[in-house]
Point group: C2
């Protein structure tokens, strides 16, 4: 039986290996500056942080360590959101409570120090995020460690920071609601059959078709995000071709990163629940 | 700077990600029962063993641990030979002597206990190896731990075991001669340019064209191995297409595993010497 940190790392690798994953880097598609090899190096670098997430030290610091390691490659942000989902799920698995209630309790245990570590993680890598509301400008994650005074003054925990952006960020929404999309997608992976990389591709398409990808909303606007949902549904209905959609989205630089993050989280849960590789 | 064990793991991943690599599993080619995902899981499982190789415990045991972890996937032998090269090279890097002399001294430090661990590694996974000479039948590696009594009786170290098959096994030959092909190929990777996965593909082709792949000799016979050398040279000379060669060799089940092992070792050395990902 693979340990939780190893399954976390394997989930990152299987996610990026799934093909086609329309709009995302996969085994067959790359962006000129964001390539498959950067995701491999990101997963290698994340391992010590994932080991910490499986340990009993503070979770926010484990996440920061994972991001520091992930960033040690030249492609930029490869797996920030995926690791943000994996950190609490790895902790839940390592403490034998990998279900929505257990993951919710992991989230509830996060602290103000955890929030500070989360902000420091943004010092390691540029992450595309939207503008915060005016009354939360001092908690803008893009400030990185420059926001630490405000975080401490306001006394917000990592769980509370995530709740602030749950309506505009699909990863944060998972944190605040017991990771429902991650757990559901994991069950679909388990009930599917065939090579894992094909299952991951199908899983990703289903996640993509569920609702607008918040990373696409932030970078390309809501209209494009809604177009992606419609076209992903057409692929699932057999009315369009996944490979053609993948090629078109990569050509246009439409990269549904949040759906990829949730897929990685789903692969992790599925591995913990017996998905065989 | 990535640590030696992390670079060892990344080398395994970059090797399998390089495409085309005629005859081998890569990002675009798989065998029905030996798929890309098995190599990802093999690299994930090998990490704790690579960490031990970077530590100061016995090297043979570190190798055995790496193989135990690598084997925790359903594809069978994915990276036995690569890890057999990486173990001493990771040790050499971790002790600041990653050059032919340093690697030779690591080999010279191996023990009878290390040889025993090497034999135990064969209990974890089926490895295609040839028949030993009759006077060495009791040291047949395929006996796995059933050979331990003979290993102890004869008092052979791991270095001596490798020397026994150096003339029929390209990995063992590296062990006994200071890893010349691995170090040379690393320099070619460093002087090349462009995405790492393309460099790995070109590096592999050069290794393939150097001399008959001993894994192909064992499984497919010397004639096929010599054909592969000729055809790899034709690709390097611009007279044949690498993709066509890759498709043909995979169709025929001709898998030049030793050349892949040496390529993985070369990627590791190159990473340690500054190859940027």
């Amino acid at each position: 039986m693979r340990e939780a940190a190893a399954n976390g790392q394997l989930a990152l690798l299987l996610e990026v290996a799934g093909t086609p994953k329309p709009g995302n880097v996969d085994r067959r598609r790359e962006y000129p500056d964001l390539r498959f090899e950067h995701f491999l190096a990101g997963a290698v670098g994340a391992r010590p942080g994932l080991e910490r997430a499986a340990g009993d030290g503070p979770l926010g610091e484990a996440f920061e360590r994972a991001i520091g390691g992930m960033s040690a490659q030249s492609g930029g942000n490869t797996q920030f959101g995926a690791l943000l989902l994996l950190a609490p799920l790895v902790r839940a698995a390592a403490t034998d409570r990998l279900d929505p209630e257990g993951a919710t309790s992991v989230v509830a245990e996060t602290t103000v120090a955890g929030a500070c570590a989360f902000y420091r993680a943004f010092d390691h890598v540029d992450v595309a995020v939207g503008e915060p509301p005016a009354d939360l400008a001092d908690l803008d994650v893009r400030l990185g460690s420059d926001a630490l005074e405000a975080v401490r003054d306001r006394g917000v925990t990592l769980a509370e920071v995530m709740a602030l952006s749950a309506d505009v960020d699909g990863v944060a929404a998972e944190w605040t609601t017991g990771f429902p999309r991650s757990f559901e997608a994991a069950e679909r992976l388990l009930s599917d059959d065939g090579p894992v990389s094909r299952r991951v591709s199908r899983c990703f398409l289903r996640v993509l078709a569920e609702e607008p990808d918040t990373f696409v909303v932030t970078r390309n606007g809501r209209e494009v995000a809604e177009e992606v949902v419609r076209r992903a549904r057409a692929v699932l209905d057999g009315d369009a071709d996944a490979v053609a959609l993948a090629d078109d989205l990569v050509d246009r630089g439409v990269n549904p990163g949040t759906s990829a993050d949730i897929t990685a989280a789903a692969v992790f849960v599925a591995l913990e629940r017996g998905l065989e590789v």
